[in-house]
Every structure is written in C-alpha cells, then in structure tokens.
C-alpha cells in the first residue's frame, strides 16, 4: 500500500521503467500458466477468508481496484470447502490491527476493536482462516484467537495455502 502510493506520488516514472505485481497477480499468473500445480485435497477442512483493508477497500479507493476476486479465485484453486464472511469485500470489518495499531500500547482497544471480526469468523464455523496481510495474521493468530475463544482456528497466509498445496 505505502510503496504503491509512494511510487505513484513521488516516482511516477517508475511505472514506465518497471513492471509491478501484487502477490495476488503473481500467484494467479503462476497458476494460470501452469508453472505451479496445486492439489486441493491438501485443504479439506472448512476455510474462510478475511479481506484485508489495504488490498481490498483501500486499494479500491486509492487505486481504483480492490483485490476481492483474486484471492477468492486463488482459494478456489486450493480448496473445495470454504465459505465467505458477511459483510465482506468493500464492507468487511477491519481485524483491528490496521494503521500500525499492533505497534501502539493500546492493546485492550485493539482487541476490543476486533470483536466484530471475531464474531464474523465464528459465524462461519470455519476451522481455517486464510489471510493476505501480515498485520491481520498477527492479530488473528496472537490476539483474537486467544481472546475470543477460537484457539482451534488455524490462521494461514494465502501464500502459505498455495505453497502447501503445491505438487512438485
């Protein structure tokens, strides 16, 4: 987010000289070109996906495209058993760890902030939560799971899901 914003604002010529990929674009390219092969049976348990603010809603507002469908397509290649949260995409709830709040002393506030997201995840009854943001990952894995009685929930990066489904 910051890098793309900064490049657009201060180094616009960068885009004439170099190509760019988001993590989603690159994974999709490898899958579509057949450069990686995935086995869906590696993820049999019910999964759900959390839209990160930065790659979703904020990308939509700042760059004109929110990465909503891309991660869902990727999950479809890794699993036949997943459900969405509601609300999602542009209207998702932030996990509570955005904006650098993981790095402030306001832990109690951050955990309370995450209650809505925790309720949503619980409502899906999923065993596996897929995320595509490092802050979300830490918030779910280290805070919300513990604070909201979801310790059996596995939290996994989207790229870990892909890596684990790879057939070499």
């Amino acid at each position: 987010m910051a890098t793309r914003l900064g490049l657009q604002k201060w180094y616009p010529e960068f885009f004439k000289k170099y190509g760019t990929y988001t993590v989603f674009d690159l994974m999709i390219k490898y899958i579509k070109e057949g450069r990686i092969k995935l086995d869906k049976s590696k993820h049999p348990r019910l999964a759900t996906y959390h839209d990160p603010c930065n790659y979703g809603r904020k990308s939509e507002m700042k760059f004109g495209h929110g990465y909503y469908e891309e991660p869902r397509w990727i999950i479809d290649q890794c699993s036949d058993n997943w459900v969405d949260t509601f609300p999602n995409k542009g209207f998702q709830f932030c996990c509570g760890a955005g904006g650098g709040s993981w790095l402030t002393p306001y832990k109690e506030e951050r955990v309370y902030y995450g209650r809505k997201k925790a309720q949503q995840i619980k409502a899906t009854e999923a065993d596996l939560l897929v995320v595509s943001c490092h802050s979300c990952y830490d918030q779910f894995k280290k805070s919300l799971r513990v604070e909201y009685d979801m310790e059996d929930l596995e939290v996994k990066y989207l790229w870990a899901m892909v890596a684990d489904a790879i057939v070499l």
Partner: protein
C-alpha cells in the same frame, strides 16, 4: 441566489479532506468498530477538524485507536476522507509523542534500512541460514538464496518481522518461486517492505523508504517489483 458551496472552502491541513461537506449523518460512526472506544466518534472528529480544534485532535488518542481501515470513507455519502484526515492529525503530533514503537521503527528504518534495525551482516546470515534449512527439505535440495542477484525478473522486499523472528514464514514464497522456476532476488540492503511512515503520517520518511526500493531496482537491474505483502 447562488448555491451554497460546501466543497470549495479554504483548506487547512485538517479540513482539506472535504470535512466541510459532512452532513453529520453518522454513517461513519455506525459502521466503525472503534466507535465508543475512549468515546471515539468519527463524526465528532470531523466536526472538530471543521471547527479548527487542532490541538485537541493532535493530543487525543482517537487518531491512534482508529486503524485507518477506510470503512467510514467507503460509506460516506459526501466523500469525506476521514482516513486521510486521521493520517494528517497523526502527522502533526510531535515525533517524541508518537505512541509505541511506530516512530522508533521509522527512525531505525531511516538509519539501517529496516524497521527492526537488523544489520546487513546479520540479515545475510539469517537468510543464508534459513535457506540452508529450507534446502534440507525434500524436493528443494538445490535451492539457493538469490541475494543481490542482478537482472532478476522479480525483486522482493521482506517484511521486517520475518527475519527478526518468524523466519519459517519466509519459506512459503521461496517454495512458490522454486516451484514456478522464477528468477527472483532480495536486496541485502534496504530490503524492508513495510513502511511505518504511512501510519505515522511522515511523508518525508515514507518517500525515502520508497526511494530506496527504486534504487534497489536500478542497482540490481530487476525487471519487476513484487509489491510488499
């Protein structure tokens, strides 16, 4: 009679985000998970900006409890940019009073090239060490860590927390690159992918950090940048 122009008002740093256009409908408040924390109320925050209550806003905890998730902006019928307003308020606070480790990380990043202040030799050691560990896994025995490789197709940054303490989590992308037979590289200097200056409202530091990524692209003659996760 001319229509009342609520958009083109003289701008100050804190009412420049169309704050004057606010209808006070409180859609932002209803949709925000932070509403009520410490009395946080996005509508009041916008009013305070319009009323010129800069000092109160700068001293408040509100802008740091908000996660800048943008749900308010997304729903606002008048296009008030509350997230940008929050960032501008954050930017006006004295750097010594930025809460937690945010500004310390920015300072470390400017000095060392990463938020955790990891020296280059330590970073190189960790990366090579973890790479050896990875090569021991079945199917990856000829894996080599492509640090500072020139002319790669993809240049990657690294999230500072990974070499700092979550090294296993770096292996997922390595595995994907290996399987896809990709030509990629990680710079051994200024490799940080996370720009905390976005959160502290520090444009000068943010620009420096982004500029270093551009320099690495030039120096290593990379073709494409993989945006930090």
């Amino acid at each position: 009679m001319e229509a009342l122009d609520l958009i083109n008002v003289p701008e100050t740093k804190l009412n420049a985000q169309q704050a004057m256009a606010c209808f006070t409908c409180a859609t932002c408040v209803s949709g925000c998970p932070a509403t009520g924390i410490d009395g946080f109320d996005a509508r009041k925050l916008v009013r305070m900006a319009v009323l010129g209550m800069e000092k109160e806003l700068i001293d408040a905890r509100w802008p740091w409890i908000c996660t800048m998730c943008g749900r308010c902006d997304y729903a606002c019928p008048m296009g008030v940019k509350i997230g940008d307003l929050i960032r501008n308020i954050r930017s006006l606070r004295g750097r010594e009073n930025v809460p937690g480790t945010l500004h310390k990380g920015v300072t470390a990043a400017l000095k060392t090239g990463n938020n955790f202040g990891i020296p280059r030799e330590d970073f190189v050691f960790v990366m090579k060490d973890v790479a050896e560990e990875f090569a021991d896994e079945e199917g990856f025995d000829d894996f080599e860590m492509p640090l500072d490789k020139k002319g790669a197709n993809i240049l990657c940054t690294v999230h500072g927390k990974l070499p700092f303490g979550q090294t296993d989590d770096m292996k997922f992308w390595w595995k994907i690159f290996y399987a896809a037979n990709e030509s990629w590289t990680i710079p051994s200097e200024n490799w940080e992918g996370v720009n905390w200056a976005l959160y502290t409202g520090d444009d000068s530091a943010m620009k420096t950090m982004v500029g270093r990524i551009v320099e690495n692209m030039e120096k290593l003659e990379a073709k494409n940048l993989l945006f930090p996760e």
